[in-house]
Symmetry: C2
């Protein structure tokens, strides 16, 4: 499993990903799920991947090959981020089709993968999409300014509570880290290092901030401890059941 | 969907359930998922249900029929709660087998249901089990003192942080409500009224506390608002990214 998320904020785009992959409990490895492509002044794009590692690696490899061979359509000559989302969907479906559900030894095999693609191309506003395993895609909205792929549920409630388009970048990045940390705590197949990137809207520069937190990074340890303490305090301060419910029992 | 949970605490057992069922977005209804069976001084048992409503209703109906007909094994003459968990698994499998995956019109139809059964029978300690759709069951442990069925992931992180065997009942019930509230917020197929019950270990009485919170109950509204405010404060108080990460960017 994996957990990646991205947010479309007024100030720009935030991307965050874990780095654990597993194929059964004894095949746990570490791979970056964050892929950056940029031409300063022209475009800045980030792709996050989840799902079958063979599929997502093949898709990224094909995308890079198309770039090197300067094919008619590639990530550096595309005019819209949505076209790149279409292209990712097409590559992903083609790759899955090679291996999955053909009957025979692979009957029922699931090679599906999901992608988040976001960034900005000169002349356009920033864009953010999630590409489904089926190849189609959705974008974020003002009411729902974030997208997730992989093991999404554990870390969703905190995003629902905190993230709005006008959330400051610092808060949004912290919220992304808390969301991933909650997921790591509840699901052993999501794990560090965590990567986090902020692209400032309109800058067309690769990124304004990027950092990677290893398991033993002091900030991650402090964030965890602090969040755990604060959640406990948040509980202590909730209204007492006993007083409020006397009439209902 | 549905979300139910139960906790095995030093002081006793806590059960909490939502009441929404849906079969597609235009077939949303309200059914209690909490079923209580007790003989004061002899036994006190609570069953929570999730999954296919026809299956779970049929299982509870058969269990009640066996009770009325005083069959060789029923919920009032069982000697161990684990035997009742076996019995629920058997009833559930038999019911599913009538309809599911027979080929023909029902090929691929999923009639699965899950159950939580907990309580105490005279001469035994309290027990708590989750019955899988496959009919087998697991119990809670000291390190993992709660069980969940239905839409379990959204509400799990808060349980992982707060619930230990020595957690006071008041805190545990509050935590259960917060866990369900987080789930309702992230998934529209989980909804009020919420039912919450506390059985005191060793009492063999039906319950020490029971309450039901409708959507507009002032405690639920206050809990929600307070939790939302407290989570936001908890964020504000987290260590700043900027100061900690200067060396890593």
């Amino acid at each position: 499993m994996t957990y990646c998320l991205a947010m479309a904020l007024d100030q720009g785009l935030v991307f965050c990903s874990d780095s654990r992959t597993n194929a059964g409990p004894d095949r746990v490895s570490t791979y970056s799920k964050m892929h950056r492509f940029s031409v300063p002044g022209d475009r800045s794009l980030v792709i996050l991947t989840a799902g079958n590692l063979a599929t997502s690696q093949a898709v990224i490899a094909q995308l890079q090959r198309d770039l090197e061979e300067n094919t008619d359509f590639n990530i550096f000559n595309a005019r819209y981020v949505s076209d790149i989302a279409d292209y990712l969907g097409t590559l992903s479906l083609a790759e899955q089709d090679k291996y999955a559900k053909k009957g025979g030894p692979n009957a029922g095999f699931n090679a599906s993968a999901s992608f988040i693609i976001g960034g900005q191309i000169k002349g356009q506003d920033q864009e953010l999409y999630m590409v489904y395993p089926e190849g189609n895609h959705i974008t974020a909205s003002d009411l729902y300014p974030y997208l997730q792929i992989g093991e999404t549920k554990y870390g969703k409630p905190i995003l629902d509570r905190i993230i709005r388009p006008d959330t400051p970048v610092e808060t949004a990045m912290r919220c992304a880290l808390v969301s991933i940390d909650s997921t790591m705590r509840s699901n052993a197949t999501v794990g560090p290092p965590l990567e986090c990137l902020f692209y400032r809207r309109g800058s067309l520069e690769p990124q304004e901030r990027y950092f990677k937190l290893e398991e033993n990074h002091p900030y991650l340890a402090e964030l965890r401890q602090s969040w755990d303490d604060n959640i406990r305090s948040a509980f202590e301060e909730l209204p007492s059941l006993s007083a409020m419910l006397e009439g209902d029992e």
